[in-house]
């Protein structure tokens, strides 16, 4: 089975690339070597009152250097503590976790990231060799968008219209009449619902990266399940484990 380890990694760089949004580079050759786009790692806060790890998606993977880039938003005391780590600090990390994106056999891909769902799209954009339209949805402040430009044509939507199309990612797709044979999407559930609906309507297959509160991160505790079309072979009910069977699912396989 795929390698999965818990290590003490070293923080190499930590910068705030947006309001409350941090870019963390950590060094862990073992995890970096095994990692794929769409997978995530569990980061430990090291605080005695916050025991559970924080699942963070992989934004970039530099196997040669043994590095992983994690871009996350400070959502509470746990991520705030992680945001406080600096170069040289040790950080407990478990990974790589989850299935990652299925990158086989698509010719024209539409990558859709919304808010803090944007980071995992970056490594995917780097590794996906086919033609790519990249759609990034923000509330207002942009981040990471520049870094996508090298990998495809970037389309932006903002809720306040301060940049790109005013509205959401679907508005941006329609307005730019984007087409493709595979959608890759990560973002808030309402956005993913919209993407699933749009994909169905346009008959485009879509891979959605979901999130849910997790405890173990490896599929044992059954905290992070989502309703699925087929019964999950693991627990024999219509619940897939986001941390293990996912976080990436084909749209038609999950109810969101």
């Amino acid at each position: 089975m795929a390698l999965k380890v818990k290590n003490t990694a070293i923080v190499r760089e930590n910068s705030e690339i947006g309001t409350g949004i941090h870019s963390l580079w950590i060094e862990d050759p073992q995890i970096s070597k095994a990692a794929k786009p769409g997978q995530f790692v569990s980061l430990y806060t090291g605080a005695a009152d916050k025991l559970l790890p924080r699942p963070i998606s992989l934004c970039e993977i530099k196997k040669e250097a043994g590095l992983l880039r994690l871009v996350f938003r400070i959502a509470g005391a746990g991520t705030e503590r992680i945001a406080g780590f600096g170069p040289g600090d040790p950080i407990e990390v478990m990974g790589p976790l989850g299935n990652g994106f299925d990158m086989d056999g698509c010719k024209r891909a539409i990558l859709i990231g919304g808010g803090i769902g944007i980071p995992p799209m970056l490594e995917l954009a780097k590794q996906l060799s086919c033609e790519k339209s990249i759609v990034l949805g923000y509330r207002d402040e942009l981040f990471l968008n520049r870094e996508f430009e090298a990998y495809g044509s970037v389309f932006i939507s903002t809720e306040d219209g301060s940049c790109g199309v005013k509205g959401n990612v679907i508005d941006a797709i329609r307005e730019n009449a984007l087409d493709g044979d595979m959608i890759f999407a990560c973002g808030p559930t309402p956005m993913l619902r919209g993407v699933k609906q749009y994909a169905k309507e346009k008959q485009i297959r879509a891979q959605l990266s979901l999130e849910e509160r997790m405890a173990c991160g490896i599929g044992a505790c059954l905290a992070c399940v989502c309703r699925s079309k087929d019964t999950d072979e693991h627990t024999n009910v219509n619940n897939k484990r986001i941390c293990k069977d996912g976080p990436v699912f084909y749209a038609e396989d999950v109810e969101i």
């Binding site: 089975m1 999965k4 818990k6 430990y44 005695a48 009152d49 916050k50 025991l51 559970l52 790890p53 746990g78 478990m94 849910e212 509160r213 997790m214 405890a215 173990c216 991160g217 490896i218 599929g219 044992a220 505790c221 059954l222 905290a223 992070c224 399940v225 989502c226 019964t231 693991h234 627990t235 024999n236 009910v237 219509n238 619940n239 293990k244």
Partner: protein, 299 residues
């Protein structure tokens, strides 16, 4: 140096197992820990039919612990018997199957189905706080505890461990009731019913509103109840509640537990259970303890 303990005639190579629901059936954790290094593996609850569990969010972090309301999602006994028993049998450890149900009939169905299977012990969960029909009704009433214990014993081929709820006024009364019903051993504590509120959204942190509190935060309550239980009954006690290292485990053993279970710690230290077993050895070496059994209830 001896770490072996015997519970209801079953010998454990060391007094460490896993708390039901925190370790699946071991497969996921086998990537991080040698299951053969544990005295026993206690599985997630198994029912007669598949259970879908509760809506999400199912967990919430709390100060020094966590709340869970998984709702006993499980694949049902047939899948469990076909897939999990053969998997666990590859390892040199005891298999303890945690049994859950909505009615006495449900429990009995599972117990009977398992009677012909190659498992070492049964743990009857009459104390899940997250499913109204998850046994909590049984677990908080002494008469009901005695009755369901007696009924289970009537059909069980393997030794029966009754898992008690800490959400009671008098744990000793429940323990004596289980013993009177014929229980071969007791395990405690299950989780304490708790609640967390998201003050930004002004809603419950869990879809189920309440959940079971576990983790280091609850350890003092667990040690106290294990002490009171061990004093109240003659059958062996398996202690659990917030154990994350050997020092924690030793508190339970000295309070009267013959064995201990590692639970929530598995979620943040996948090799926690094995580390506890190792740590017990280290303590015995440092303090010149020949036999772990000499520490049971020594306080």
């Amino acid at each position: 140096m001896n770490l072996k303990v015997s519970i209801a005639g079953v010998e454990w190579k060391n007094p460490v197992t896993t708390a039901s629901g925190t370790f699946g059936s071991g497969a996921e954790y086998s990537e991080f820990v040698d299951l053969g290094s544990l005295g026993a593996v206690t599985t997630k609850g198994v029912a007669n039919v598949p259970w879908p569990g509760n809506p999400t969010p199912r967990i919430a972090e709390t100060y020094g612990g966590m709340l869970n309301a998984i709702g006993l999602q499980n694949p049902g006994m047939e899948v469990f018997i076909r897939r999990d028993i053969p998997f666990l049998r590859q390892y040199d450890t005891n298999i303890i199957v945690n049994v859950c149900g909505r009615t006495v009939k449900d429990y009995i169905e599972v117990v009977e189905r398992l009677s012909g299977e190659d498992v070492d012990m049964l743990e009857i969960n009459i104390s899940c706080p997250n499913v109204k029909e998850g046994g909590i009704a049984f677990g908080q009433n002494a008469k009901a505890v005695e009755e369901i214990t007696a009924e289970v014993k009537r059909h069980a081929k393997q030794p029966v461990i009754m898992k008690l709820s800490p959400n009671v006024t008098d744990i000793a009364e429940m323990a004596r009731a289980a013993e009177a019903g014929g229980a071969d051993a007791l395990s405690l504590i299950n989780t304490l019913t708790g609640m967390k509120i998201d003050i930004k959204k002004r809603c419950f942190a869990l879809a189920n509103k309440t959940g079971g509190l576990s983790g280091p935060a609850v350890k003092p309550v667990a040690v106290r109840m294990v002490y009171q239980t061990a004093k109240a009954v003659k059958i062996p006690v398996i202690g659990m509640g917030g154990i994350q290292n050997a020092e924690d485990a030793l508190e339970f053993i000295m309070a009267g537990a013959t064995a201990v279970a590692v639970g929530t710690a598995n979620f943040y230290r996948p090799d926690a259970a094995a580390c506890v077993a190792e740590g017990l050895k280290a303590y015995m070496q440092e303090y010149g303890v020949e036999d772990i059994n000499s520490l049971i209830g020594c306080v």
